[in-house]
């Protein structure tokens, strides 16, 4: 029952996004532009790019992701859709997990598309063996960002200063996950195996998913 609700919500969000592709286009365009701009700031051909390749990539994902995550609950405000959702028999936890899954899919897709662009622009050497660990890091890191972004999207949806409060609250919260993901990615791209940062990322994901599911009811309904 819970899973069916989750699936319905996620499918609804993904359908509505696929129809208009607003957030998708904006995110992809934004991430490509950021990668381009950073390539002017740092010379991509230098050796030192290895040191912050992971950082660059995840900064791009964090910023592009904000576009996706912001819209998550914001799109429900028109026509009182949010009130309808809250009043419906769908539990807040199912609503949250459904939206988080939809956001995760969109963000993951954006990342998969911008990853080759990144590899191209920055001449990142890569091997087939790195793909598996890379996907793992992408999944764990993106889930961390998504969970926090979706919860705070719900929190700030009715605030009058939503555009200001969402980044202010969300980015500091995301920083531990971002740091872990950045370090892991940099290590991977430099050819090292995955370090213990994975354990931190897993712990972060589990803790914040639990906290978010517990608190989403408080945030939406009270």
């Amino acid at each position: 029952m819970f899973l069916r609700q989750v699936w319905t919500i996620a499918a609804k969000d993904l359908h509505s996004e696929l129809r208009t592709k607003e957030a998708w286009n904006a995110s992809i365009a934004f991430s490509v532009v950021i990668l381009l701009l950073f390539s002017f700031a740092f010379d991509p051909s230098s050796e030192q790019i290895q040191e912050f390749s992971g950082g660059l990539l995840w900064m791009t994902y964090a910023f592009a992701g904000a576009l996706v995550l912001n819209r998550s609950f914001a799109r429900e405000v028109q026509n009182d859709c949010l009130d309808a959702l809250i009043a419906s028999p769908v539990s807040s936890a199912a609503l949250f997990v459904g939206k988080a899954l939809a956001n995760f899919s969109m963000l993951f897709a954006v990342e998969l598309v911008s990853l080759p662009v990144f590899v191209l622009f920055y001449n990142v050497p890569w091997t087939a063996a790195q793909i598996g660990p890379m996907l793992l890091v992408l999944t764990l890191g993106t889930w961390g960002l998504t969970v926090i972004g979706t919860l705070f999207s719900a929190l700030t949806v009715n605030l009058r200063l939503r555009e200001l409060m969402l980044p202010t609250l969300v980015y500091p919260m995301m920083i531990p996950a971002l740091i872990a993901a950045m370090t892991l990615t940099t290590d991977l791209l430099a050819g090292h195996p995955l370090g213990i940062g994975i354990r931190f990322l897993v712990a972060f994901d589990i803790i914040f998913t639990l906290l978010a599911v517990v608190f989403v009811d408080t945030v939406l309904v009270g």
């Binding site: 929190l155 609250l169 919260m173 906290l211 945030v219």
Partner: protein, 227 residues
């Protein structure tokens, strides 16, 4: 009664501080490797301890609000968090100045400093959020959620010097099974902690009364508009 408590605490705090400062400056020698600058520890460590404890206490009070729905818990949580933010700022500033001499840089991106700065940003955001929401019950709810989530970061910061190899020194205080300090150098930290704790209680009490003023203003305003 309240005034007496505040004055009493202020006297205790001032007395302790004065006596402790005397010990620190006249009784203790300069540290072997660091020279005079190490004396910053007597403000840096207590301020950060109070900050972390305060954020943790704020989390407990926030959960108390969510469970009981009593707005006084929320008011207390806000006051404690705000005062803790001030102590965290003191900790960050003193740490930075100390680092300039010892490490040669004003800031380093090691995990203890970064996670503490993140805490500072999160709880700064907590205060901003409180100002952005007008409705008291909604404000209390949102603030409680942010407080609990932010406290996870406070815990990460506390444990960061144990879990990772940081540029920041490993645990030194003997209560944390640390390396310990030269004889006589550790006790003033705790005395200063006590003095600053008294001071923080005063600040929280003052803040709490301001919260109750604000609540009264709210109620009266509503009455006035209803007439």
């Amino acid at each position: 009664m309240r005034e007496k408590i505040i004055i009493g605490l202020a006297v205790v705090a001032a007395g302790l501080l004065a006596w402790n400062m005397n010990t620190i400056f006249t009784g203790l020698p300069d540290e072997l490797n660091q020279g005079a600058i190490y004396r910053i520890i007597y403000f840096h460590v207590p301020a950060n301890i109070l900050g972390m404890l305060g954020f943790g206490l704020g989390m407990i009070l926030s959960i108390g609000y969510l469970v009981t729905k009593d707005l006084r818990y929320d008011a207390l949580a806000a006051s404690v968090t705000e005062v803790s933010l001030v102590f965290a700022s003191i900790g960050l500033a003193t740490g930075s100045i100390w680092a300039r001499i010892i490490w040669g840089v004003w800031w380093a991106w090691d995990l203890r400093l970064t996670s503490w700065l993140v805490c500072w940003l999160i709880f700064g955001g907590y205060l901003m959020l409180r100002r952005a929401v007008d409705e008291p019950i909604q404000r209390a709810r949102f603030a409680a959620v942010v407080s609990v989530l932010g406290s996870v970061n406070a815990y990460i910061s506390y444990k960061s010097i144990e879990w990772w190899n940081t540029q920041h020194p490993q645990p030194v205080l003997s209560i944390r099974d640390g390396g310990g300090m030269a004889p006589g150098m550790e006790a003033p930290i705790y005395w200063n902690l006590l003095a600053l704790a008294c001071f923080s209680v005063i600040l929280v009490m003052v803040r709490m009364r301001q919260e109750s003023f604000a609540r009264e203003i709210d109620t009266l305003r509503r009455m006035a508009h209803a007439q």
